[in-house]
Symmetry: C2
Subunit: 396 residues, 2 copies
């Protein structure tokens, strides 16, 4: 891949710099020269804009959105159980999963500067592994501009749906990570689901990312079961709990007990920061090195009409929910939506530094907090050193 | 004022219509003619866009924002008390209140389609009534494109700051409504503050809009004191409680008791729907005819770096906080940010109907829920029949 130079940008709001890109990675970040610095390769004028790393969406569902299709009025039920049933009844009517819709979602991500995502993809007795193929094809259509990590997700349950464990095993053989969902609340048998999932993860050497909506001590009990199995299976650093609403709801001493277990087990956490949920102890999680990533969750699907795929908006929601106000904290919220998300998409390094993938988002903002608060249009999105969106339009 | 016709718009997502404007008001809304319908007057091409009424911001603080000035890192304290003190110490350093900054805020409102606002304006021993003059001058600069209703707001307390009641009385003589703040929590003497405020309101014939952050039963106690005084003073329909966080926090039977009192006293309610606060019983409030308006609160000020002035974003936050999901509910959220706000800005009628002020906002959206969820750019903003913003830029 050719050498390119993104001139005159302000990385994280710092002094003007030129970012030299080579082979899809950042080779150098150096003070802006102002002159015709690049002897060879493409010059991309950064126009003095604020530069952030590409956003990382640590929790998405790109297979189930009807983005780009005509509006679908919400017709679900208010419980998780009811929504699962509703989705399985209705999705075919809207032709889901579909490559077109999944591509539309990924384009919307890209338009907002997201260059890497972990997506849960429904695997159940109805759809089998077709959703995974659909998402892979959608990602291919965009030539890899969005780096997609797939989690085979048993949305409809595992133990209660005999045959799903086999599907997950097959997906894991094809290199997808595997997911789980409320081993108690949905499957009504936490030990059986977790034994099944961890069995596959150990055998296939894949990661685990488990949805946990269960509240209070029922949630906490399952956190403990997961942490125990993670250590026993030697899967430290490979297991994520998604949502995990219970954590924020528990008393601080109980949170602390659990965080110790997570730290020991190298468990990371993905949240979509829904308004009205209990704030997470994010400072203590960070101090303990417990990975925390932000995600959009599903957008515009049979679960909920909400969502735009804008990770900067998610970071803003996280900041507001957690009462973040200082510049340092607001900047950390943006880091949670970008650099801190690297572990959720198999990246060792994701930042505006040499060696990182050349994923940049340019916005017209005074500094990082200003960008967070206003969520302005993405003037330029660069993925792997290639300009993929400009002035809010995807160029692919 | 000249006759104008806004052609080919979809009011509230309905069939294409032409909106005939005369003397700053809507004269007629008729099926789109598709032909050269207007014999005289200006034609404004609506391009098939979704039309909503201008947004109404029922609770703003346009005097204290540093919008348009360089970024100010947040340096306040986490309590209401601490933030009040911080603001009074720091505001002069940033030249607040300033006509330029207040104008910048109003322009930002307008850019996002807000054509009428109620704004609380600080009145205290330091600034006196200067803030009110500043805001009036800012509104004048925009030629009344944003209809501004002023509430003289004793942010720093009333009883604890002898002399402030006299300032409020003077402001009321100049036709401003008057405000109050946490008669218990800040002034430490709820009866004295409320007696003072209601005395002025009765004598001057102005409305009251009281900030109430106090939680739980302490908040409820003050709701009762306010309702009692409202009935006694014959001020039914003239009194608003702003924030009133306590209402959502109380058990449903207690809420119901209070709602009965509010209904009897004609008390209305303004909320800025902060994430993490308790949802309001909005359905029951609507069923009882208790007015509910949405507002931005202060944006980008010494209290908080958040806020953009986008009422559609506030409606979205309200919808998410209250678990609204059906098309009907999502449309109601937008109505709360527009038509339902009329009573907060002294308008009998505010909608896309004959007789209403010709305030229209056009967006490229499939329907109202789609507009709410995406909060897209305002393609065209019309205030009093005049195009005041286009493609996100204010034309004034």
């Amino acid at each position: 891949m050719a050498v390119a130079i993104v001139t005159n940008v302000r990385p994280w709001g710092g002094p003007a710099a030129d970012v030299v890109v080579d082979g899809g990675r950042i080779r150098e970040v150096r003070p802006a020269s102002g002159a015709d610095a690049a002897a060879d390769g493409e010059r991309i004028d950064g126009g003095g804009l604020l530069a952030l790393p590409g956003f990382v969406n640590a929790h998405a569902h790109v297979d189930k959105s009807w983005w780009g299709l005509p509006w679908v009025p919400y017709g679900g039920e208010p419980t998780t159980q009811g929504r699962i049933a509703h989705e399985r009844e209705e999705r075919e009517r809207y032709g889901l999963p579909s490559v077109d819709a999944a591509t539309a979602v990924l384009r919307e991500f890209l338009r907002h500067g997201t260059t890497a995502t972990r997506t849960h993809v429904d695997v159940d007795l109805g759809v089998g592994l077709r959703g995974i193929e659909v998402v892979r094809e959608a990602a291919d259509r965009l030539g890899g501009a969005v780096d997609v990590e797939i989690v085979a997700f048993p949305q409809d349950g595992v133990v209660r749906r005999p045959g799903v464990l086999d599907l997950l095993d097959e997906a894991a053989a094809g290199a997808a990570s595997i997911g789980g969902i409320d081993p108690a609340g949905i499957d009504r048998d936490p030990v059986a689901q977790l034994d099944g999932l961890f069995g596959i993860a150990e055998r296939r050497g894949v990661g685990l990312d488990i949805h946990l909506h269960d509240h209070g001590e029922l949630g906490a009990f399952q956190f403990e079961l997961i942490a125990d199995r993670t250590v026993r299976a030697g899967l430290q650093g490979r297991v994520t709990i998604s949502h995990g609403f219970a954590l924020g709801e528990l008393p601080v001493p109980r949170q602390r007990e659990l965080l110790e277990r997570f730290e020991e087990a190298g468990i990371s956490w993905a949240t979509v920061a829904p308004p009205g949920t209990a704030p997470l102890p994010w400072r203590e999680m960070a101090a303990r090195g417990i990975g925390l990533g932000l995600g959009t969750d599903g957008i515009r699907d049979l679960w909920s009409p909400f969502g735009t795929g804008d990770m900067l908006g998610i970071a803003l929601g996280f900041a507001r929910l957690h009462g973040m106000r200082t510049d340092e904290d607001l900047t950390e919220a943006v880091a949670l939506a970008s650099t801190r998300g690297s572990r959720f998409v198999h990246r060792d390094l994701h930042d505006l530094v040499p060696g990182a993938p050349a994923d940049l988002v340019l916005v017209d903002a005074e500094n990082v907090p200003d960008a967070l608060v206003r969520c302005p249009e993405r003037k330029l999105v660069i993925a792997g050193g290639r300009v993929v969106a400009r002035d809010g339009d995807v160029l692919l």
